[in-house]
Symmetry: C2
Amino acid sequence: MSEPQFKKIVVFGVGLIGGSFALALRKANAVGEVVGFGRSAANLQHAQELGIIDRAGGDIAAEVGDADLVLLATPVGQMAELMAKIAPHIGVHTLITDGGSTKSDVVGYGYKKLGSKIGQFVPAHPIAGAEQSGAAAAGADLYAGKKVVLTPLPENSPPAISRVQSAWEACGANIHLLSHEEHDAVFAAVSHLPHLLSFALVHDLAQRDNRELLMSFAASGFRDFTRIAASSPEMWRDICLANREALLKELHRYIDELSTMSSALERGDAAKLEQTFHTARELRAGWSEK
Amino acid sequence: MSEPQFKKIVVFGVGLIGGSFALALRKANAVGEVVGFGRSAANLQHAQELGIIDRAGGDIAAEVGDADLVLLATPVGQMAELMAKIAPHIGVHTLITDGGSTKSDVVGYGYKKLGSKIGQFVPAHPIAGAEQSGAAAAGADLYAGKKVVLTPLPENSPPAISRVQSAWEACGANIHLLSHEEHDAVFAAVSHLPHLLSFALVHDLAQRDNRELLMSFAASGFRDFTRIAASSPEMWRDICLANREALLKELHRYIDELSTMSSALERGDAAKLEQTFHTARELRAGWSEK
């Protein structure tokens, strides 16, 4: 058997994202040893029992220097601190990637905390379900056929980008390259704003005395529209704040759109309403998730 | 076999709503003869072949007078004209109900067009799928276990209400009574506003040069949030205009809610965002469609 592509990887945060990354690389015979770090000793032990990691790491300094690849798969809120801890120990051949769902903030932390090692960090956002968490939720096929967005930095060398890309490809993912600004603008529009809007609608209903009557007449359209309002409040608080600028831009644009529709409704402009709905229907009905 | 509860019913508009009403009453042995009226002779012939109606009506004056029950199942936009046509011919024992999804406008037409016969009209809104149309989509079980809202008028006698209620009950529906104002306020909040919001989001994306890039990263949250943006533009134009006042009230309230969230985002108020999302999550996660 040939040498694996990555002799040693270190995963910080062995949950759904980190654990699935390790399992997928193992399945592809692309990794030798997997070392895991995390806040919960019980979760790390469980991850070891499940064969996700070979062992839990103890000393960051000792583990990071000879690692081929480090994955930062903690919540984004913990990444700045984590980067500061690993920065002094990153080896000359060590590459770093992450699994954060916002990118400009993570890139900002990288510039601040990784210093001269910034060129070894190739940021990534795997677009894969976030409904479950913990090592137990991890699976070797989580990324199969899914999109992973890489947002390379000017400091990244082409071989560094290519090697991180090949790790995510070994997980079965389809790779897309965007700048971190483009990434955050795109996800503000098609993911973060819809979540905010859905939360806002249900929150508004929850304030009312007749909320039970209202909810008793809610049907399938409401059900689908508000499914994402049952998402994790903590996670979405963090995402909204992390991508605040792009999200605010989208939110203001959307409020303008609603004001236009409000005016059309007020003046009974049937043609404008129909044209708006028609344009939306064309785009939505012609779209299919890939 | 005992006499059916309704010896003769007349259905105006033999599509999903009207056709299913006829089929359900037949299945319950609650109807003798079913006469259908409609704009499309081909659809009426098809409805007859499918056993939905016994025959297509020709002369309104001749058919309505001895009918026990008349169902108005045309689009709401055609109901005023239809009421004007049938008003002079409504028999003393004839009751009228409808299948319109907005009620204040239909009630308004009733007062204008039915004149002294207004007490014989018991308005209804069956909450049942509107994705398909035409007689071919009709089924005897469409209303089974579904909600039908009756919005009785002060002019309705208790026996009139009770008899119309028993017809919808024979279709298998669960009956709820609301005033027409309450009905329209409830559906503006839990149905009409979400449709408008979903259309608005997709319409805004459709205006952009990078819409294909945006849509290529849309995922399952977007899919569910925007499913209703693929609804019929004509139907929703009509519903929005028919329920304009209640919908505008909801829309303005929602824009206020978004402005509050925008301020919270701008000042980075993590606690406010989390509390809003948490309240929404509680209500949504605790709700199940009945």
